[in-house]
Amino acid sequence: MDLTWSASEEAFRADAHRWLHTNVAQWRTDHGGEVASGDTREGFAQHLDWERRLFHDRWAVVSWPADHGGRGATLWEWLIFEEEYYRAGAPPRVTQNGIFLLAPSLFEFGTPAQQEGILRPMAAAEDLWCQGWSEPNAGSDLASVTSKARRVPGGWILDGQKTWTTRGAFCTHLFGLFRSDPDSARHRGLTYFLIPLDTPGVTVRGFGRLDGDEGFAEVFFDNAFLADDAVAGGVVLGEPEGGWAVAMATAGSERGLTLRSPGRFVVTAERLVALARDRGDPTLRRRAATAWMHAEAYQQQTLATVTTLAAGMKPGAEASLAKLWWSELDIELHQLALDLLGPDAELEGPWSKAWQFSLSGPIYAGTNEIQRNIAAERVLGLPR
């Protein structure tokens, strides 16, 4: 047990802190002070500008090797960076589905050529990746995907439909699961593809999320020819028909700490403690302290998890517990925020936006009902 940061970690924190404080303010000023949601067309462009500033100064992907645009930061440093990131009020990462979900799978399953060709433009926010898992009839039940891939000389023919693709209407590339063995069922016979969205035969239609922003898209594949070299290093990630394992690794990242680092929750909780203090209601003050404890516990539990990862262990089914915790914590925090705002909670604004977003937490990345099943069966060992 040693809960102190080393001198070099403290130095890293100081660097990050300095850069973020200066640049967040500068970026906001450059866009007229008020930035739109990253899930609107206008806001997405503003956020891309932010992403490119991050990349320019090598803060976009701190944990990646320098070759790919990172700083080779340790997991500890990455956590420090995330904490400082949210403390500085920096915006949500519109590149997150690439850098936090696809990239870990690319590091694990990608060929050197794929890593070489894909990672840097992703970090630079030149190639913008979205996730193509869900289909109209394959939500929680991901193994029932029916979008098809057929091998043809020099590439693949894709047919089918993906939906609820976050920011799909603004992205350039999609990673997704397709059934490449027509006779296969469930988890078998699926291939994990990397697909430019300007491939002929691919159509993207954006549509409104709960909060009204065009944050979702449907992606239609109509006899779309995907050339083997449409993506540098090849369009198949992992083995053909071995897509399920790769997808599960990606989903693990989605549930686990890379997508939702504790910093954002702790910072939100601190703001609520201040709001509750100002509002004065004793019940709400106590609720704020409780919510803060839940956020802080996530922070501490993450330190424990990173300790095991740093010792070389693989993340396991415990990621399901983390996903349950942060998604329900996010709702607890924002429910409290609305109760603190009282009648003003009805106004559109950062709190009501974040409240609506928090409600998606128990749905995406595998519903919390599914996560509870997984945790019960794989962490506790209950019978299926």
């Binding site: 029932s144 709960l210 109760d339 909670a345 009805e346 559109e348 409600l359 128990p362 919390n368 009902e369």
Partner: protein
């Protein structure tokens, strides 16, 4: 003792339900999201007016139906069931007993600083200092507010020029506030029922893992919890309607209990409904969000749960022998 709506009360609200099923569809709510301020369509509203709904609480002598809140509350539950965007609580429940029949559409700031349908209303009922006052819509400057529920069409108001003072009687003002909270509680029960019904239908159809998702125990339990909250909020609202109609000594306490329980129930149903819909519900293309956002708005209008729970606390403690 008879804890149920009378045949007349039931028949009236059934008729309203039938009307609203035809004329108060989700398209009406969507239209209210899109119409510019001052351009709320009055089709359904005029039909409700023609049925006498807006004048239920107005004495017969004054051209109304001369009925009481036990008639209006089940009707407002029906209005909630279709997420009616028009200011029916403000008009029929709060303003009509003060202003009479044929008053058009009334907005009011009694429910909170964000005034629904302010630009669409004919007149605005105001809580001015210690008085209730009324003013023409064009005597006030409006600033449209962007709220989570576009169909609420809310605005904030500037101080009006020359409002007509109706009363400075605190009892009349308190009754108006209680009526607003009660009417809103009824709307919330209706909203909750609408979301529950929508979700029961959805999970009975939607297949995952080869079966309807409504066959999973977790989904069953979510929706039972939702139904449970509604099942016990509804009688609280009905009892409060009686207490207001009869001016019982427990009126304020009963109204607050109704509002707190209806707000909590509708919010819980909304949470479970969204979760059981999954990503499909998390879009503006599905109708669910129309009900959900109205629920969020109404749960905090006319006093939130903390406010009303504190009123209940004070009423109960006042009845206790001293320690």
């Amino acid at each position: 003792m008879r804890f149920s709506w009378s045949q007349d009360q039931q028949a009236f609200s059934d008729a309203v339900r039938e009307l609203l099923a035809k004329e108060g569809t989700p398209l009406v709510v969507r239209a209210a999201w899109d119409a510019p301020p001052g351009h709320l369509d009055r089709g359904v509203w005029d039909s409700l007016d023609a049925m006498g709904v807006l004048a239920v609480l107005v004495p017969e002598a004054a051209g109304g139906l001369g009925l009481d809140e036990t008639f209006l509350v089940p009707i407002l539950e029906e209005a909630g069931r279709v997420a009616l965007p028009h200011p029916i609580v403000e008009t029929a429940m709060v303003a009509a007993p003060l202003l009479g029949a044929g008053i058009g559409m009334i907005a009011s700031d009694l429910g909170g600083p964000l005034v629904p349908c302010a630009a669409d209303a004919d007149r605005i009922l105001l809580h001015q200092g210690d008085t209730l006052a009324v003013t023409d819509g064009d005597a006030v400057e409006l600033t449209a507010a962007t709220t989570v529920d576009g169909a609420r069409r809310a605005a904030t108001l500037s101080t009006p020029r020359h409002p007509e003072v109706l009363t400075d009687d605190p009892a009349v003002i308190a009754l108006a506030l209680d009526r607003g909270a009660l009417g809103t509680a009824a709307m919330l029960v209706g909203l909750g029922q609408a979301m529950l019904d929508l979700t029961v239908d959805y999970v009975s159809q939607r297949q995952q893992f080869g079966v309807p998702i409504g066959s999973f125990q977790a989904v069953k339990h979510h929706l039972t919890n939702a139904a449970l909250a509604l099942e016990f909020a509804r009688p609280a609202v009905a009892r409060a309607a009686w207490s207001v109609a009869q001016s019982t000594p427990t009126r304020a306490r009963d109204v607050s209990m109704a509002k707190a329980m209806a707000s909590d129930a509708a919010e819980l149903v909304g949470r479970q409904a969204l979760q059981c819909h999954g990503a499909i519900g998390y879009t503006v293309e599905a109708d669910l969000h129309l009900y959900l956002k109205r629920t969020w708005a109404l749960a905090r209008a006319w006093g939130d749960t903390a406010h009303h729970t504190d009123r209940v606390t004070h009423a109960l403690e006042a009845d206790l022998p001293s320690a």
